[in-house]
Assembly symmetry: C2
Homo-oligomer: 251 residues x 2
Amino acid sequence: MTHGYQLHYWPLIEGRGEFVRLALEAAAAPYVDVTRGQAASGKGMPAMMHYLQDASIARPPFACPVLVDGKLVIGQSAAILLYLGPKLGLVGKSERDRLWTHQLQLTIADLVTEVHDTHHPIASSLYYEEQKAEALRRSSDFLAVRLPKFVAWFEAVLQRNPKNDRLAQRSFPHLVGARLSYADLSLFQMVEGLLYAFPKGAKRALRKSPRILALHGGVAQHKRVAAYLASERRLPFSQEGLFRRYRELDS
Amino acid sequence: MTHGYQLHYWPLIEGRGEFVRLALEAAAAPYVDVTRGQAASGKGMPAMMHYLQDASIARPPFACPVLVDGKLVIGQSAAILLYLGPKLGLVGKSERDRLWTHQLQLTIADLVTEVHDTHHPIASSLYYEEQKAEALRRSSDFLAVRLPKFVAWFEAVLQRNPKNDRLAQRSFPHLVGARLSYADLSLFQMVEGLLYAFPKGAKRALRKSPRILALHGGVAQHKRVAAYLASERRLPFSQEGLFRRYRELDS
């Protein structure tokens, strides 16, 4: 295995792994996307399953994504970003800023779960088609009640950040202070995913959120992020992922 | 307002606030349970609503529980415990132990969300009775698939902690190292809640988990925890809370 961080996640979907991948890419950190490598070279799915299933792992992650850094094995995307943030320069230096950035990330993680449950409100172990009626009801509430609440909150956070008051030309709003944080990257990914899954509903929910849209546009043009998005390392959204486009759910 | 930490949470239910309250109680930390005080003395619901709704809050929490410590305002129960852990002596000293304890807490938080969704699989804004059919399906999957997966993981974590190999008399297993952590307290509360909500299903799921049961029994006998549980400060479980007992969901 080469040097650098190891990221373990399902090989064909962005899912929760993408929040970590975006941070690694934006910081140009050396990392291996393990499951997309070959088993013959110690990568692939067997490498990930080792961390999830092998009884020799003293502190096993409950699920992926899993970050391995030397002897450290970390699960939970928000915990991974809490760990990586300072190392990648993607969080402020004060305890106050770090805690606030993490709090934002945890709220994004909550929103991720709610997005997942729009198409799987009954059980992850069942197909979408087996819970379609429930998915219609849950998505309807998600777009009418929950998403507007999250959007209003993120917009308020951007509005109340005093560093966003007078932005330099070609800059964009940030969630915390005046620098790019992993929470900004995650909010970008959230907006990307929502606009993919719910082209009508998400556009409507974001209509009166100029700061979120400016952040989304700004991150997309960040030099290293843009290069990553244009590369083969970026996986496409799909009907197997977290964000899924079912026309009937997008009311 | 008196000195010490301020905990803001809905006044009539344990909910997610209880994970924070248990840590404060176990450490005998000075705190005010703000919403249970009188508005005339600056407490009660208006004090909590100030932090959730007032545009003057620069870094507003998305939801309660909210911990206020001087000028610091923190939302998200796991982030609150990340902050409090070292101050209350309820987490190890190494970064490694702190990250692992937090990762455990985040997985407990995920389980909390799944427990909530057993009775509210469609929308928090609707009554249980309006989503009872869906609740039956979701609870059935929760007890058959999800809960056993979480239980097996926590049992494995306890089993693989080498400090649990030879326990002193009157001691009990801990999730991290040889000392009580906030994750232990939260797992205790999770077991309490599950046994309340699903007396049949939870007992079945926990049957082959001697270490979790020993932790649960041990925390209940911890001197300060036991005193707290016997006090009026401990709220009862109820049908308005996170853990609800609906006989029809307990299969």
